[in-house]
Symmetry: C2
Subunit: 117 residues, 2 copies
């Protein structure tokens, strides 16, 4: 799980390697971003992140697990994300991710967050 989160920052955000989201989200993942409808499936989620990284000027995302609970064949994680934006601004987001294994890799299957301020 830590590898997946590190990949999200080092590849997807820092290098804008959107295809690396194949290693982050399950094929059938759901994402529920603030200010928009739910997004179903990895390909639409890739399109969302491509726009969001450019739109917000995202420079880095530091993910920290606050709590994690094994549940059946998955894990429910509560976490905190520190977003660094263009212009030196920061944004603190909390999130819940339901993790699932896909082909032996732990990935985000349900992803929802909201800002702390």
């Amino acid at each position: 799980m830590r590898q997946t989160n590190e990949l999200f920052n080092s590849e997807v955000i820092a290098k804008q390697n959107i295809q690396a989201l194949d290693q982050v989200y399950t094929a059938n993942a759901r994402m529920l971003p603030p200010g928009a409808e739910m997004i179903a499936g990895r390909e639409p989620i890739k399109a969302f992140w491509q726009q969001a990284i450019a739109g917000l000027g995202l420079k880095s995302v530091k993910l920290t697990t606050v709590e994690a609970e094994a549940l059946g064949d998955g894990v429910v994680e509560i976490g905190r994300a520190e977003l660094s934006l263009a212009g030196g601004n920061t944004l603190t987001v909390k999130y819940v991710v339901q993790w699932k294994q896909e082909a032996g890799k732990w990935k985000w299957h349900t992803d929802i967050g909201n800002p702390n301020q």
Copy 2:
């Protein structure tokens, strides 16, 4: 689960019966509301809702399950909430709730949401 959601609207929101949240949230629940830090435990969650109902002028909350998945001894639900506010305004929120049984009753153990607009 439907009973719990109906109780939330009919007792907690409509009658402002905050103590009925004993039947909605587990004792050790986590709530992650937009614009604030995570709240841990049912008593602080009660204080949050008491303020939120008054502050938003909440009149009713219609909860609809979009997807639900059994996971271990719990359920992960994706849902939609239609909030009716004072003055005839409405607000559409999507949410993820991790359900757990407590003394034989299905309750919200992790609760996070964000607005669609």
